[in-house]
Structure formats: C-alpha cells, structure tokens
C-alpha cells in the first residue's frame, strides 16, 4: 500500500493514563479510512494525533512517530501550523465561526496571507462547490454561518477545511449531530472528496463505516485490534472481538 499517513509504535498518554497503545498502521492516499470502536476506545484521540490537535492539552504526551508522506510530523523543528494546513479537520459538532458564510470559508486562506479579493472569491466558490453547498448559499454569502441548518453548517465546515487545500481531511464523527438526510449528503460528499483528498473518519456508526469507507480499523481500549479492507473486516473479521463488536454483541 502507498501510505499517505503512517504511524509507528504510536502511544499516547493523558498524564498517567495511556489512551493509545503501540499503534502501527498505514493509511492509503485518496481512500476513505474509517475507525470504529466503542466510546472511550481512543479513536478520537487517534484522529487528533494525526494533525497535532492534542498538542495544546496539558499533560498530554506522545511516543512513536506519525509520518505524513514519510516525514515525522512530531520531529523537532516541524512547524505545527504547516502540519495542520496539510491535515485539515472537521469536528463532531458543526462549529462555524460567528462570521458570514464568506468569511468562514475565507478564514483559512486569509490566515495564510491571501488577501486578494478576486482570488478569495474564487477559493470561496470552489470550496463551497466542493462541499456541495454552493447552490444553496451562493445568493447570501454575507449571511451568518450560524443561520444555516445543522447539515449545511457541517458542509460549511467542510468547505472551510477544504479552502486551505489540505491533503488529508480528518472527520471526527461528522454526522453524529445531524439528521439522516444531512448525513446522507455528507456521506455522498466523502465519496467525491476522496478523488482529491485522503479522508480519515471516526464514527460511532458501523453502518456508516461500512457504507463510506475503503479501509476500516477497529480500536478497542486504545489498541488497534483489526485493520483491513472494509469489505473484509465486515464480512470476514479475523479477530473474535471485532466480530463481536460488528455483530452488536457489545459496544
């Protein structure tokens, strides 16, 4: 497999509490990779390790390596801002800024120093189109992002993440706060987005993992129990615990 992201002997601690244990795996480029597992298994922490979002948490400590295109993003001297620009993130709760739709999408490019009006206009339109939101909002870009429905807000957050042209997009249970209709839209979107981006999604919802992903990892108590092609993991799980989880015997 051609690895876009790779972890080696990855361990993660909050203070004394070990949240991730010795995770070594490769995530393929231009594919959707899903992580499933019961609450508290460390799947969100794992996702946040991939763009160093845990850096700010006091007492957090990481061992091992996380490679993006073969370069360790935790190596000394690596610019965390650069890492996050390449590895974008969409959160569980839609969290648009209390700004206009336009300013939400333009936020990332502006932070990177793009101020030219015509270029910004172009980025905003391209990103909103990529997030399948353009047609719904093109006539009121000056409206607050918070005035949109939940599903639209989440697509706005996806557009906002895409506007900085990341290579990898992390999605932390992006549909858990949404209705089925909006969920469907976002799932369809993932299928389109993987042509240009590498998508890593954490989900509570096994059916969702089965529907949208090419690869699935099953995390339990901070360890990666099973990882493989989604079709394999769901039809012929190798580990008994995986089988028990996906057949709903615990979770």
């Amino acid at each position: 497999m051609d690895a876009k992201v790779e972890t080696r002997r990855l361990a993660f601690y909050y203070g004394e509490h070990q949240v991730l244990k010795n995770i070594g795996m490769k995530i393929a480029g231009n594919q959707v990779t899903a992580f499933i597992g019961p609450s508290g298994c460390g799947k969100s922490t794992f996702l946040r390790v991939l763009n160093r979002m845990n850096d700010v948490i006091p007492g957090a400590r990481l061992e091992g390596e996380v490679l993006l295109d073969g370069r360790n993003i935790y190596a000394p001297g690596v610019d965390v801002v650069e890492v996050r620009r390449k590895v974008g993130m969409v959160f569980q709760q839609p969290n648009p800024f209390p700004k206009t739709i336009y300013d939400n999408v333009a936020f990332g490019p502006r932070v990177l120093g793009l101020n030219h009006k015509a270029s910004l206009d172009e980025v905003v339109e391209r990103s909103l189109r990529a997030a399948a939101l353009w047609d719904e909002v093109k006539d009121h870009l000056g409206q607050s992002g918070l005035a949109l429905s939940g599903g639209q807000q989440q697509r706005l957050c996806i557009a906002r993440a895409l506007a900085v042209e990341p290579e990898v997009v992390l999605m932390d249970e992006p549909c858990s706060a949404l209705d089925p209709q909006s969920t469907l839209k976002i799932e369809e979107l993932m299928d389109t987005l993987k042509k240009r981006y590498t998508i890593v999604i954490v989900t509570h919802n096994m059916q969702q993992a089965a529907r949208v992903s090419d690869w699935t990892g099953f995390l339990l108590l901070g360890g990666l129990v099973e990882y493989g092609k989604t079709t394999e993991v769901f039809s012929r799980p190798k580990d008994r615990r995986t089988e028990e989880y996906i057949t709903g015997r615990f979770g």
Binding site: M53, Q93, F107
Partner: protein
C-alpha cells in the same frame, strides 16, 4: 407546609423583591428628572458656570471636561484592561504568579474609590507633578476601573467556546491569529458591556476625582488643566451654593447621559451580535 404553599410564598417573596427594586429605581430617577429637567434648557447646556452662591450660568465647561476625562480614561484603560484580560484568559497558565495576579485584581475591585483617590493624589498629582489635572484624574480612574475591565474581558473571552479555537487551529491559524480573528470578535459584545460599565462609572465617580481633578469650573485647555465633571459639579452645587435645583438639573443631565450611553452601546453590540449569531442582517 405543603409544596404549593412554599411555592406561593417563594413566588411572593421573589416578586416583592423585584417590585421594590424597580420601584426604588423609578422613584430615584423620577425624582431627579422631575426636579431637574424643567431647569435644563439649551442655554443651561451651553453657557459657562459663573460661580457664586447662586451659581449663575450653565454647565458647558463641565460637560466638556466630562467628555474629555472619559475619553482620556478610556483611551488608556481599554488597551490595558482588555490586554490584561486576554493575557489571563488565553496565555496565563495556572501558576503561583497568575493566582497572585487574579487575587490582586479581585482585591483591587473591592477597594473604596477614595483610597484610589489618595493614591492618585500622592503619585500623579504630587510625585509626578501633574497637579490637579485631567491627566491625573484619568490615570487615577484607570487604576480604579482596571480590575472591572480586566474581569469582564477575561470572562467574555473565556465564554467563547473551545470549538471555535479548535476550528481555527485546525485551519493552520497561529495562537495570536486565533485570538485576534476568532476569539476577540466573538467576545466583543461581552467586552463592550464591560466598557459601558466603566464609562458609566467614570461619569458617575466623584470621590477619587475630588482629590485629583481639582474643582476648577473653567474650560479645560489641555490634558494638564484641572476641571470638574458633571458629578463633581453636582457635589459642589449641592454643598457650596443655594441653588439646589441647579444641582438637580445637572443630576438630570448626568442620568440622561448614562442612559444614552447605555442605549447606544447596547444597540451597537446587539446589532453586531445579531448579525454574527445568525438571523437577518
């Protein structure tokens, strides 16, 4: 006692408390306005006070001094207070030092204003030779109001949800970009509330200005001129002249000023908030 009786008693108690508060407020404001407003006219607002036991003339210089003093005070206070609030909310780790700073801020907020006045008199008026002046008064007011503004700004910034910060970080924003472009704009309504509170207190403050601003009724010509604000003027009129109605008239102007300041700032921050929080533009 049955639950429904307790409920009724509690409701009556709470309702009475609320009603009495509103009543006191209305009586005080109503009394001052009824007594004062008939004496407020265009000429009262635009002529200089002439002094004397009958306090001939109006309050034009006093209005100018008040505006001057509040502007200078806020000009120094806002950057300092909001800056310290940003430091405490965003940068300060929980250490011995920051605990001492917070404790100091809280203690200062409880110190009577005349004590700040004495401090201002000793430091600004005497030691720094600013004499009785707008600058000395403003610096003293800054010391008096800093704790309030620091606290309200800190609270407003802390109330901005963590999810906004995370979203900005995830887009590659630096800490300062996140604070400047996301956190502060979202905290503006809260910070504005703190600023209104401080403007109100600057306008109404007398004790600490009595010993730093002097009491000259003339038109201020520079930062180093002495002067008297509306509230000081009320004090002088009430204690040194025979024209109580002029004190009331000045008091009425004072009250209306505060009400207008509140209304304007509320309007601005509501509009700002409504625009950003959704709904129509």
């Amino acid at each position: 006692m049955s639950a429904s009786t307790t409920q009724k008693l509690a409701m009556t108690g709470v309702w009475t408390g609320g009603a009495v508060t509103v009543l006191i407020l209305l009586v005080v404001i109503g009394y001052v306005l009824v007594q004062g407003v008939p004496h407020v006219g265009w000429s009262f607002l635009t002529t200089e006070p002439k002094g004397g036991l009958e306090a001939e003339g109006g309050i034009s210089t006093v209005i100018v001094t008040t505006i001057y003093l509040v502007a200078v005070t806020m000009g120094i206070l806002i950057p300092l207070g909001v800056g310290a609030g940003i430091y405490l909310a965003e940068y300060a780790v929980d250490s011995r030092f920051t605990r001492i700073v917070r404790y100091g801020v809280e203690t200062l907020a409880g110190v009577p204003s005349i004590v700040f006045g004495l401090f201002g008199f000793a430091l600004f008026v005497t030691a720094l030779s600013l004499n009785f002046s707008i600058l000395a008064g403003a610096l003293t007011l800054v010391c008096l109001l800093l704790p309030t503004l620091i606290r309200t700004s800190e609270e407003a910034l802390k109330a901005v949800p963590r999810s906004h910060r995370e979203a900005a970080f995830a887009l590659g924003a630096t800490k300062w970009q996140t604070i400047w472009r996301v956190v502060i704009p979202a905290a503006v309504p809260g910070i504005v509330t703190g600023v209104i509170l401080c403007i109100g207190r600057a306008v109404e403050e007398t004790a600490c200005l009595y010993v730093t601003l002097g009491g000259s009724a003339g038109m201020p010509s520079s930062l180093l001129s002495g002067g008297r604000t509306l509230s000081l003027h009320v004090f002088y009129l009430a204690t040194e002249t025979n024209v109580f109605e002029k004190a009331m008239a000045t008091g009425a102007v004072l009250i209306m000023t505060v009400i207008i300041i509140n209304a304007i700032t509320n309007f601005i921050s509501h509009r700002y908030y409504a625009r950003m929080a959704g709904g129509n533009q």
